[in-house]
Amino acid sequence: MPDTNPTPPLGDLDALLSQLVDGTISPADRASLEGMLRSDRAVRDAYRAFMHMESMLAWQLVQPPAGAVTDAIRLEEDRSRSAAARIAWKRSAAWLLPLVATAMTAGAIALVMVFTVPDRGGAPPAGSAIDACALLADFTDAEWADGLQIERGAAFAPGPLRLVAGSAQLRFRSGAFVTLSGPAEIEVLDGNSLFLRSGRIIPYVPHSAKGFTVISPTGEVIDLGTEFAISVDADGQTDVHVISGDVQLARGRVAQGTFLTMKQGFGGRVAPTAAAPEFIDTPLVFDDFSAYPPTLHWQDIDSGRVATIHDGQLAIPVEHRGRGITKQRSSRIVLEHDFSAMRGRRTAISFRGLLPEAGIDGANRWLACVIDDGSGDPPLAMEREAVLAALVSPHFQAAARIDGGNNQQTRVFSRDKDAIGPYQVFMTIDDTPAAHAAYGGAVADVTVNGQSVIQRERICLPDRPRIGLQTYGSSTVRGRGEALVDDFSVSVSVDAAGGNPASEPQVQ
């Protein structure tokens, strides 16, 4: 067999291949290696065997998430110190996202301010010019204005940036991640602030980025938690939705004005003409699993038991059994509640999920939030009866399955091998008249750890939606673990039409 040949046909082939992968090969040696590869099948087989070993080494030596987090943090600390580390950071940026999520303290409160800039013409404020305020960490189908091509890792100085379509993720110098969903128009101001002219962004603010500032045209001071979505429409109206953490939303600075305190699941709006911010989303259900029995009724369909709550989290078994051939097993937990209020409104579902690490090495496993029509057996995430499913998995960081009439499709994003979470999952379903006018029906968005998975995809929202959580495990090795879910909320828009009583704008 070719790749079990113990010795390469040429004594120095191994040395050349080593230099090739380490980037130290001389141009002359590279050319002679290429010649050997071209003319000799045995050299090609040896080369393939060598590269397979390279790849195996990389898979074998990747540390578990705990170590990787330390690595990510160390890279963060290093990046201001050495140019080499900065390059490493640039190359890793896209991979760090789930790790940063892990490193984040759950209770971290970031201060995010939005304040009035009525006369902004697009020029950055004086004295804020600093090179490389942000980097392009990642993007999906991103289309920039003026046909601009931007590579991953590209640095942004202060200046405007217009995303026409797709999504993109900026990593600010402070450590904040900002996901832009096109069309969106922003302006990078400095390493810890941006101006949102129009569109929708989801800042994901770790502890280090406290004080991250978003300026919007209507402008209010917002003191916010760890993750939120903020959008600005053509009139400058600013909407904020809390994904996790606590938020204070005010006109003027929080210290000076009236403000709304919003927890997870709440949404608030600052209209151009309103005197004060007002609630636009209110939680339909919220469960932080701190009480037992839980405040909400969670039914385990597969075992017939009431779901297990321990240590303030909902625990869902992930198990698989068998040897030799792959066996699969699912657990489904359904939230028994009347969700018919979702019809005609905008709904946001948010929760934090963690997948088990121990005891299921090498196993495929996932946790999914599944929406279906409420009839019959709750479908698995991948079944046709599921209207919308958002999945997180160590193998496929996030995926979504949509069934919008004939538009059935699946999207998957693999981001970082073997990261078990935590994953902050945020799903929105917009069934408002505005969505029907623009898209011909309800549309869904799914975001995981600030990363956009699907955007504005058509779904068929049933009359009586049901919401469930599902785990899945598959392995040739017997194993059992638990997926943990915390801070589960479903909120709906208070006023689908979005009319606001006119009032005098308050002058700061």
Binding site: M1, P2, D3, T4, P6, D14, A15, S18, Q19, L20, V21, D22, G23, T24, L33, E34, L37, R38, R41, R44, D45, Y47, R48, M51, H52, M53, E54, S55, M56, L57, A58, W59, Q60, L61, V62, Q63, G67, D71, S82, A84, A88, R91, S92, T326, Q328, N364, L380, M382, H395, F396, A399, Q409, T410, R411, V412, F413, S414, R415, Y472, S474
Partner: protein
């Protein structure tokens, strides 16, 4: 009869290492290989319906991966490529052909080699293992690994070569022992 999604996902996840290995032979750099692997996964997932059960999954996945590598090379034309396209295409088609003809054998052999490698890694000295961790886990440059180990970049390059050769010999020895 198409595979169920669950079956498909199980196949896809269990084949990740081997698809990545294939991509690695074509792009050389491990970080680049991971990037192409993600693109490949996305396409495999989207085109799951086109996979014919009964045929070799890895061979199909490698064909998709090969297209992704070509696309990826096109996008980076101005950058230095390691080898000419014709050489890489021959390597790719030989690998796919072997996988298509001897898929089951290749899968078993891969698994044996992987287990042998894991055992051989355990036999390494702490110092050598540490050098490999720095190289593969942190994806550091030779210069920064050298700084960490108190060696020059050139010495690190020599060290890595020696460790790889030792691992290779150890694997061959173990595989010879386990062979029927």
């Amino acid at each position: 009869m198409a595979l169920s999604h669950d079956e498909f996902v199980a196949l896809l996840t269990s084949s990740q290492r081997r698809i990545c290995g294939f991509i690695c032979t074509l792009v050389v750099d491990l970080t680049d290989a991971e990037e192409v692997l993600q693109e490949t996964n996305l396409t495999l997932w989207q085109q799951a319906d086109r996979f014919e059960p009964g045929t070799d999954f890895v061979a199909w996945a490698c064909r998709v991966a090969h297209f992704k590598v070509l696309k990826w090379r096109d996008a980076r034309k101005r950058q230095r490529a390691h080898f000419d396209d014709d050489v890489l295409d021959v390597i790719a088609s030989e690998a796919i052909e072997e996988q298509r003809m001897h898929g089951q054998l290749a899968a078993e052999r891969y698994e044996l080699r992987r287990l042998a490698l894991a055992a051989c890694l355990d036999e390494l000295s702490d110092r050598n293992r540490n050098a490999l961790m720095l190289r593969y886990n942190g994806k550091h440059s030779l210069t920064s690994i050298g700084a960490e180990l108190g060696r020059t970049a050139n010495a690190v390059s020599q060290l890595l070569h020696r460790i790889r050769s030792a691992l290779r010999e150890c694997m061959d020895r173990r595989l010879a022992e386990t062979a029927p």
